[in-house]
Symmetry: C2
C-alpha cells in the first residue's frame, strides 16, 4: 500500500450556524484545508463528501458542495456511515491515493442540523438502528440505545451517575479551551446531575448536542506530501467494522463489538501492542458520557470494567495515562454528524504537529494519535492511527 | 495499482417487487454473487452498499443489509452518487482491493422505490440537481431537466421525436429477451409516440420507470481472482467526473460534460483510442431516450450531432458498430437507482464471459466492455472499462 499523508486540515466553528447553509459551511472548511496545504482546487484529483443529510433539502450534497467550492468537474461521491460518516469519507479519499488512482484527494464532512424541524431531526436520528424491529415496534430513541448500555454498565460494575458525569466535566473543560467548540463553558458534576433526564440514566449534560459544522482534510501521495509540507502526518492504519443492526443480537451491552474489532485491525496494521504506551493522544466517540467509558475499554486503554477508573483518576486529562478528547469531544465541541470524523482527524493532525495552545496540547512522545468514530450504537466503527 | 478482478455477479428480477423489502432484495443479489464466486460471507473483507434511499424508512441501509446478509461484523459504508450510486459502490470496493487493504470485497446496489408514496419519490428525484435554484424557484422536475437537453438537441440537429423513440424500441426489444428486465414486451415507434407527455418532448415511453431491484459483484485481488475462477473479468480502468449542480452554468445542453471527462480518463487509462473498434459491448445510462443519444456522442461512439444516426441505422443493435444496452437498458430493464450501476457491471461481466442467450449475446472480439453510469443530469459520471 502506498503511503498517504495529511497535508492540509480545516475546520469551522461548530455550533448553531444560522449564518451559513451547508455549501457555505463546507467551503469554510475546504478553503481552510486548501490554504493549509498550499494548493488550489485544480490540484485535487478526487474528493468525497461525508454527509448523513436525510434532513437536508439538497439531495446531492456531493455536487452542490463541489460546485460551490469550485471543485467541479473533479470526480466525487457522497459517503455515509451514520455518525462515522466523516471517517468513511476519509477512507475513500485515502484509498483513492493508496490505490494509485489519485495523487491528491480531499475529504470534507459537513452537516447542517439546525433549521430542520426538530421533531424531524430527532426522529430521524432515532432511526439509526433497525427501523422495523426497534424504532417502529418499540419506539426506541437514539439516547435510549445508549441508555441501555449505561444501565447495564452501571449495574455490572457498581458505577453511579456521578461517575459518568465526570466525562462531561472533562470534555466541557477542554471545550472551554477550544474556540471552535460549540460549548465553551465548564460544567460541574452538580450541574450535570441537575440537568434533565433524556433517557435514564442519561441526562442532557451527558449528551452531545445538535450541531452545524464542517471539517476537511487534504491527503496526498508520499512523494507529494513531502514536497507540500515539512510536517506531513501519515495515515498509518485504519480498521473498520460493523455491528448488528438489531440490538437484540448483541452479546451484551458492556461494550461495542465493532469498536473492539476495528481497533484490533488498526493496532495490528500499525504495530500497536500497548495502546496507552504507544499512543500520545486520542479522540473517541463520546456521543454520550457512557460511550467514552466504553471506548476506553473497547480500545484497550483499560480492562473491561476498569474504564471508569481512568476518568475517576483523571488519567484521560492532558498529562495523564492517555489524554482523550482534548478538543472537547462530541460532548462539548459538538457533533455535526457527517463532520465529526473529519473533525477528529483535524484534531489528531494539529496535536501531532504541536500547533495547539499549551493548555490543551498533548505531550507528543511517540508521534502517534488515534481517532475512534462510531456510527449508531456500534453499527459502524472506524479506528484510524495517524503518525508523524 | 494492483489488478482487481470480478469473480462473482448476482442480480434480482427488476420491477415491482412487493414480495421483498430492501434487505431481502439485497440478499437475493448478494447470495447469487457469493454463489457465483464460490465463496461465503466470512471470506469477504469489506463491503459497500449503494443506496440513494432518501425515501427509505431505514436510515442505515449498509448495516441493515449487512446484518440480513450475514456480513456483520465486516467493515462497510453506504455510498451515494445519485443514479450513479452503483458505480460509486463498485469504486470503493475496487479501490479497497487496489490499495491492498482488502483481498475480497463486495459491492451491492439496492433500491426499493415502490411502496413509497408516489409524490414523495417523484418529488425527491426532482431534487437531483440544485434544490435552491432549480427545484424550489423554478419547479423543474427530473424529466424536465432531460427535456431541456432533448429540446436543444432536436433544434440543433433537426431531430424528430420519432428518432428518439427508436431508442425505446431497441431497448424494449432487448428487454423482451431478458428475464430479469422490468418490461419484457416490445414497443413500436407508434406506441412511443402515442404515450403521454411527461415533459415535452419526452413521453412516458421515452422514460425509465420506477423500479425495485438489487445487483451485487464480488471483487478479488489478482492472485485470488485467478484461484477462484477460470474466467476473471478485470476492472481495467474507471473514470469519474462531476458536473455543475446548477444547470444554468452548463456551456450547452448538447452533451454531458462529466460523461466526456469520465470517458476521457477511462480511455486514457485503458489505452482506448478508437472506442467503437476496441469495445465489444456497452451499457449506457438511458434514463431517457435522449440520454442514450447524448451518451453515444459523449463516449465517442459518434461525432457530435451524429449519435442519432447510430440508432437510425441500427448500429447499436447486436451485430452493429457497437451494441448498446443489450440487457434492455434503464428504459426496459428498469432503474432501481442504487442498483443500476452494479446491474451494468453484472451485464458487462456476463457479456464478456459469453454467458447470455445468443439473441442478446454480443460478439466478443477484443474482450472489452464499457459501462456508463450518470447521476442526475450529468452531475456525476462514472465510466468503467472491463476486460477479459
Amino acid at each position: 500500500m502506498q503511503k498517504v499523508g495529511v497535508v492540509g486540515v480545516g475546520i469551522t466553528k461548530f455550533g448553531k450556524r444560522n449564518d451559513a447553509n451547508m455549501n457555505l459551511l463546507a467551503w469554510e472548511a475546504i478553503n481552510a484545508a486548501l490554504q493549509d496545504a498550499g494548493i488550489e482546487q485544480k490540484d485535487v484529483d478526487f474528493f468525497t463528501v461525508g454527509n448523513a443529510g436525510v434532513w437536508s433539502e439538497e439531495l446531492l450534497p456531493a455536487v452542490t458542495v463541489g460546485d460551490y467550492a469550485g471543485l467541479t468537474p473533479k470526480g466525487t461521491m457522497r459517503v455515509e456511515a451514520a455518525c462515522a460518516t466523516g471517517s468513511a469519507a476519509i477512507r475513500v479519499a485515502y484509498q483513492s491515493i493508496a490505490s494509485g488512482s489519485a495523487k491528491i484527494a480531499l475529504a470534507v464532512g459537513v452537516e447542517k442540523m439546525y433549521g430542520v424541524p426538530v421533531p424531524t431531526v430527532v426522529e430521524l436520528i432515532g432511526r439509526a438502528g433497525n427501523f422495523f424491529w426497534e424504532f417502529e415496534n418499540f419506539g426506541l430513541t437514539f439516547p435510549g440505545y445508549y441508555a441501555l448500555y449505561a444501565s447495564a454498565y452501571m449495574a455490572k460494575y457498581e458505577v453511579k451517575e456521578e461517575d459518568l458525569a465526570l466525562v462531561s466535566v472533562k470534555n466541557h473543560y477542554y471545550g472551554s479551551l477550544n474556540p471552535y467548540a460549540q460549548f465553551q463553558k465548564r460544567v460541574s458534576v452538580d450541574e450535570v446531575m441537575k440537568s434533565k433526564y433524556v433517557a435514564y440514566p442519561l441526562k442532557l449534560l451527558d449528551s452531545s448536542p445538535i450541531t452545524d459544522g464542517a471539517a476537511a482534510v487534504v491527503l496526498a501521495s508520499e512523494e507529494l506530501a513531502r514536497k507540500l509540507t515539512d510536517t506531513p502526518v501519515w495515515i498509518k492504519a485504519q480498521g473498520v467494522a460493523s455491528g448488528s443492526s438489531n440490538l437484540s443480537k448483541r452479546s451484551d451491552f458492556l461494550g461495542l463489538e465493532a469498536s473492539v474489532e476495528a481497533s484490533r485491525q488498526a493496532y495490528k496494521a500499525a504495530g500497536i501492542e500497548e495502546p496507552t504506551k504507544q499512543i500520545d493522544v486520542a479522540t473517541v466517540h463520546d456521543c454520550f458520557t457512557i460511550a467514552e467509558i466504553l471506548a476506553y475499554e473497547d480500545l484497550g486503554f483499560a480492562k473491561r470494567g476498569e474504564g471508569i477508573r481512568l476518568i475517576r483518576e483523571e488519567q484521560t486529562y492532558k498529562g495523564g495515562l492517555i489524554p482523550v478528547n482534548l478538543d472537547g469531544g462530541l460532548k462539548a465541541k459538538g457533533h455535526p454528524i457527517g463532520a465529526t470524523g473529519v473533525g477528529m482527524a483535524v484534531e489528531a493532525v494539529k496535536q501531532l504537529r504541536r500547533e495547539l495552545p499549551s493548555t490543551r496540547q498533548a505531550d507528543i512522545k511517540n508521534g502517534v494519535a488515534l481517532t475512534h468514530n462510531v456510527g449508531g450504537t456500534g453499527h459502524f466503527a472506524y479506528v484510524t492511527i495517524y503518525s508523524l
